[in-house]
Amino acid sequence: MATIELSGIRKVYPGNVTAIHDLDLSVDDGELVVLVGPSGCGKSTLLRMVAGLETTTAGTVSIGGAVVNRLEPSDRDIAMVFQNYALYPHMTVRGNLEYGLKNRGTPRTLIDERVAEAARILEIAPFLERKPRQLSGGQRQRVAMGRAIVRQPKAFLFDEPLSNLDAKLRGQMRVEIRRLQRTLRTTSLYVTHDQLEAMTLADRLVVMNAGRIEQLGKPTELYERPASLFVAGFIGSPPMNFFDLEYLREKAGASLPTLSDDSDIIGIRPDSIVLADPQEPSIPLRGTVELIEPVGGESHLHLRLEGSDQLIIVETPGRPDAAEGTLLTAHLRARALHPFNRQSGLRTA
């Protein structure tokens, strides 16, 4: 059990490409922190720097209070789960689980005990003598997790572990990772580009963009109060709708709440737009239904706005009466507006 402290981390690749700009982050003991961001934002680089697979250009990485900058990955007492599992193809599942322990000179009895325990927790006991290629994707993923937990490391590092699985399995494994991490209470750093995975797994969520932290906080905080345009657009599915303030002011009249002067762009989540008049301050917008996507319990309406030609998404429960091509009025809840400044990209209130 340990904390992970990153301070002043910078990564410059040859050719003067800066991947990470002076970044600070601390992960508390037993916490699961998720790094999320678009590809190329530096999240994997950061994780690999914690693992010791990349060198740090500047700054310090500490695990459990000790600076580990100069230590080999194996001496950092961390375990890593890779996107493509990286199981040793010529070893059996048991061989894969044991390898790290053997290299550390763990006594045989203890190895057997740990492997049995991990196999029990992950329900992979029946496959212990099989080779990885005889396993399905989900089973391989479990073995990769097993390889991490047998070591009982100070921290788990997950590098997009679920990206290679199909949607259904991904959902299942997500729950399992969550359960496992809660049970073991091992400090974890988890990298993903899937915002749903990030939201559901994280104790705290770090949204990264272009080598910097955009926002850090509880997933619900980030959803309800995104600190920047980038976070607002990245977190949440379907994504947030954005309007020019001028356009809204023209449509809203008195129902527009007072906003600070530097606001010039307004965001609103699809689930804060309703079709029936909400009987509370709201902004009515008329538009043509261009597409209806039924997603089970709810539907996503793509609305082409009158006058501005902008396309917005409305999330509405059940199935709307309106057919594609009809004209209808959507109401933006006035208290659910997120004001931003276009220039700085930051939230203004």
Binding site: F82, N84, L87, P89, N103
Partner: protein
């Protein structure tokens, strides 16, 4: 190719059978010749059925050889060839797998240059550099020795290149996982890379063994002492016996014996060989 046309089936089989016949007939003839008496082949009519002298011919070649041709017993030449082929095959694999490992997995100055230097030697096979190589070997006093027979042929760009290509297909994550698991460079090589290369090694072994076995020019140059004759060059000596007609029956017995080891190697390693050429490890 799901069509079922009898004529097409007949034609394809005919072509295949003809092809096999063209390849096999000389071998068959060699075998037939090796079972006849010494004069039978000089009468102008080639016999097509085995004769009665098979055991006699083979026993003579294996045990005493054809002393009039100045060649040692065939068993000695077979042993020399076997030693040469094995040493070359194993030596080439050992050296090239290590150099490929260095080139792929380690960052050192002039790494790319090192690779290209190795690669360029592909353009300089033994035949091209034979005179300088001979000079070096002679100056080192390695003429008429096993070292002289094998060492100059061991350095191999082809094998290095093949191993390099294979290592490049091994995912980096495997190496990273091994690093996290506490395996140093040597352990990673031994525990992970070597077992993964198994089929490649087998395929290369077959190719290189045959390469070593069929060496003709080089043994001819560096050996004058008949104790170091290899079988392939020995056959030539047997056939070119001075001042008499060649003993074709005995020469052919030696030829058949010379063919056996490569055939055996291929038969026994065929499964691994094909796997090594076809399979890509996931």
């Amino acid at each position: 190719m799901v069509e079922n046309r009898p004529f097409l089936a007949f034609l394809t089989h005919l072509v295949l059978i003809l092809g096999v016949a063209v390849v096999v007939f000389p071998v068959y003839l060699a075998f037939i010749a090796s079972t006849h008496g010494s004069g039978d082949f000089l009468r102008g009519l080639v016999p097509l059925l085995p004769g009665p002298h098979m055991i006699e011919n083979y026993a003579r070649m294996l045990n005493s050889g054809l002393s009039t041709a100045g060649a040692p017993p065939v068993w000695l030449m077979l042993a020399n060839s076997l030693f040469m082929a094995l040493t070359i095959a194993i030596g080439k694999i050992a050296i090239s797998i290590i150099s490929a490992y260095a080139i792929v997995y380690f960052k050192f100055p002039f790494r790319l240059l090192a690779f290209w230097l190795i690669f360029i030697t592909l353009m300089l096979p033994v035949e091209v550099r034979i005179i300088p190589t001979f000079k070096v070997v002679a100056d080192l006093g390695m003429l008429n020795s096993y070292a002289g027979l094998t060492i100059p042929l061991i350095a191999s760009a082809t094998a290095t290149f093949l191993f390099r290509q294979f290592f490049l297909t091994v995912p980096d994550e495997l190496m990273e996982a091994a690093r996290v698991d506490g395996a140093g460079p040597l352990k990673f090589f031994r525990d992970i890379l070597l077992p993964l290369s198994q089929t490649n090694i087998a395929a290369l072994f077959v190719i290189l063994f045959i390469y070593g076995w069929v060496q003709y020019l080089w043994p001819l140059l560096v050996t004058t002492d008949s104790r170091y004759y290899t079988i392939v060059m020995g056959i030539k000596r047997l056939a070119a016996a001075a001042e008499s007609d060649p003993y074709w029956n005995l020469v052919m017995a030696a030829v058949i014996l010379a063919m056996l080891p490569p055939v055996l190697v291929i038969i026994f390693m065929q499964r691994l060989f094909v796997k090594g050429l076809v399979e890509t490890e996931k």
